[in-house]
């Protein structure tokens, strides 16, 4: 696998990002361990919030709740960090031309690279999230954790890769779209969008599938069965993005 050898080298060039992700993950684990040391576990094995409140008041409880919320988005963050510039960096630095004269398809080169980077994002998330849950809750969400991570990696990996064919601001634009989708979905669910239903549905369809992510996160947070229909929608949306990225690469100048 010639493209894989190059992908491994590209991963080496991103080792600082991997270390940064690991350091970020360590912050979550350190926070969970601190909470675990500060208060004893309740009957269910989880850290009791009211005991935490007694120790640190609102700030400590809020901090931990915020940490929990961000943890749910860790796969998104990891995917953006790992895949940022997956193609655009090569174009900007001129490496794409060094590869482009060789009889190996750029699709193979970048598919191998994106898959490897996405696998790293998945692996780091797949270790962090269950361990955090085990420390904080005394249990974990089981396969729903991996399904949620996979959903994020497929959708945002595809989105960053597609944007990376065209612009250097790939990860930032993807982050902006993710936040937009989050806000949009919240407003939609609250029925607070004062726009025609056709426009609302179109925007909801085009933006990253936050409603499906919400369903997956719900199952993950409440230890409920995995909503496979939501997962299937997310996978379909992600695959379309990957396919568009592949098509764009055919004609893109380097």
């Amino acid at each position: 696998m010639s493209a894989l050898a190059l992908a491994a080298l590209a991963l080496r060039a991103r080792r600082r990002r991997v270390l940064a992700l690991l350091a970020f993950a360590a912050v979550f684990l350190a926070a969970a361990l601190t909470a675990r040391l500060l208060v004893s576990r309740g009957e269910g094995g989880q850290i009791e919030m009211d005991r935490l409140f007694i120790v640190g008041g609102y700030p400590l409880v809020s901090a931990l709740l915020l940490l929990g919320w961000v943890l749910g988005r860790y796969p998104l963050i990891a995917t953006l960090v790992m895949l940022a510039g997956v193609i655009s960096h090569d174009r900007a630095e001129g490496y794409a031309r060094v590869y482009g004269v060789r009889p190996t398809s750029p699709h193979r080169i970048y598919a191998a690279r994106a898959a490897l980077f996405a696998a790293v994002a998945f692996a780091v998330s797949a270790v962090l999230m269950p361990v955090f849950d085990l420390i904080m809750l005394g249990t974990w969400a089981g396969p729903a954790t991996f399904v949620l991570i996979l959903a994020y990696v497929i959708v945002y990996g595809g989105l960053v890769t597609l944007l990376s064919v065209w612009t250097r601001g790939d990860a930032w634009i993807a982050l902006l779209l993710a936040l937009l989708a989050l806000v949009w979905d919240a407003l939609r669910r609250a029925d607070a969008l004062m726009i025609p239903p056709g426009v609302r549905d179109l925007v909801t369809f085009v933006l990253p599938p936050q409603a499906a992510f919400f369903a997956l996160e719900g199952a993950f947070g409440a230890l409920q069965p995995i909503p496979w229909d939501a997962f299937a929608y997310v996978v379909g949306y992600g695959l379309v993005l990957w396919a568009l990225a592949g098509l764009s690469l055919v004609r893109r100048e380097v």
Binding site: L9, G94, V98, G100, V101, P103
Partner: protein, 311 residues
């Protein structure tokens, strides 16, 4: 082998505020046969790198067509590959020389073991052995350029495109680079070299494309021009003037601005030159030196460009 037909390339959309459209190439038509070394010269912004980018399929022509062996360039590169050294060659700084070359050799379709051997061969050949395990970012400019040459030579490709190949090379490596290009030429490859170093291009290339403001100003073909004239001019320097000079070399004329006893003479070939010189020596002349006299590429390029400026 290579055919540019009325090729134009415009960057930027016309009418876009703050970003005026730039016509990098305009109506370029060019045919380059297989085999031999071609130079591409011209001032900054003349379109040399754009010409190469079109040739290798990195960018698409706005109008006109480019074909390499009858194929669209990107298709040619995917099918046959090309050897390419970009201007200001770079690889990711964290990569190590040996592993980078091995990985690139694998992209050439070379099997793992053979790729490792080929990379090691080129590391030796390009004098990178003591730097093979260093990160690319720690290399000096000259070493980086040698790494660029090494990666371009990983596979034996019919088409070799070198953009400013001697930039950063020290005199010793320039000489070695010439040997490499000679080998490529002798092996029947088609080598294209873009450079601002006209003396270097003159040494290496048999034909030179002069670009200016995106247009082919002229194609300088020294071999053909000499053959067309039927004679080769020489600079003949004598110790002192002799009246027999005009009898032996009727077309002799003093070279203006040179030493007083230097003359421009001509002969069809070395045999005729020797015969005439023998006659001159017999007449009592003392010959200080005889050198082939041709207008250096630099002077020709300057003349062509100033002629363009005058029009």
């Amino acid at each position: 082998m290579i055919e540019f037909r009325e090729v134009s390339k415009r960057f930027g959309a016309p009418g876009r505020p703050g970003k005026p459209a730039v016509e990098a190439l305009a109506g370029v038509s060019l045919e380059i046969p297989a085999g031999g070394v071609w130079g591409v010269v011209g001032p900054n912004g003349a379109g040399k790198s754009t010409l190469f980018a079109l040739l290798l399929g990195f960018i698409h022509a706005t109008t006109g067509s480019v074909r390499v062996r009858g194929l669209e360039p990107r298709r040619y590169a995917r099918r046959h590959g090309a050897a390419y050294l970009p201007e200001r060659f770079r690889l990711p700084g964290e990569w190590r020389v040996r592993t980078a070359l091995r990985a690139l050799a694998r992209l050439e379709g070379i099997a793992r073991g053979a790729a490792a051997r080929r990379a090691d061969e080129l590391i030796e050949r390009l004098g990178l052995a003591s730097h093979a395990d260093r990160e690319v970012r720690t290399l000096s400019r000259g070493l980086n350029q040698r790494l660029g040459l090494a990666q371009a030579l990983l596979a034996e490709r019919e088409l070799v495109v070198l953009d400013e190949p001697t930039e950063g090379l020290d005199p010793l490596w320039r000489v070695r680079f010439r040997a490499i290009v000679s080998e490529l030429r002798d092996a029947g490859r088609t080598v294209l070299i873009a450079s601002h170093d006209l003396a270097e291009v003159e040494r290496l290339a048999s034909r030179v494309v002069l670009l200016e403001r995106g247009r082919v100003r002229s194609i300088l073909d020294t071999a053909a021009e000499a053959a067309a004239g039927g004679v080769t001019p020489y600079r003949l320097e004598l110790a002192a003037p002799v009246p027999e000079l005009t009898e032996v070399f009727p077309e002799a004329e003093a070279i203006e601005g040179d030493v007083g006893t230097a003359y421009r003479v001509a002969a069809a070939d070395a045999t005729e030159l020797s015969r005439r010189l023998a006659a001159l020596l017999e007449a009592g002349a003392v010959v200080v030196s005889v050198q082939p006299l041709h207008e250096p590429l630099e002077a020709r390029v300057r003349r062509e460009l100033s002629a363009e400026a005058d029009t």
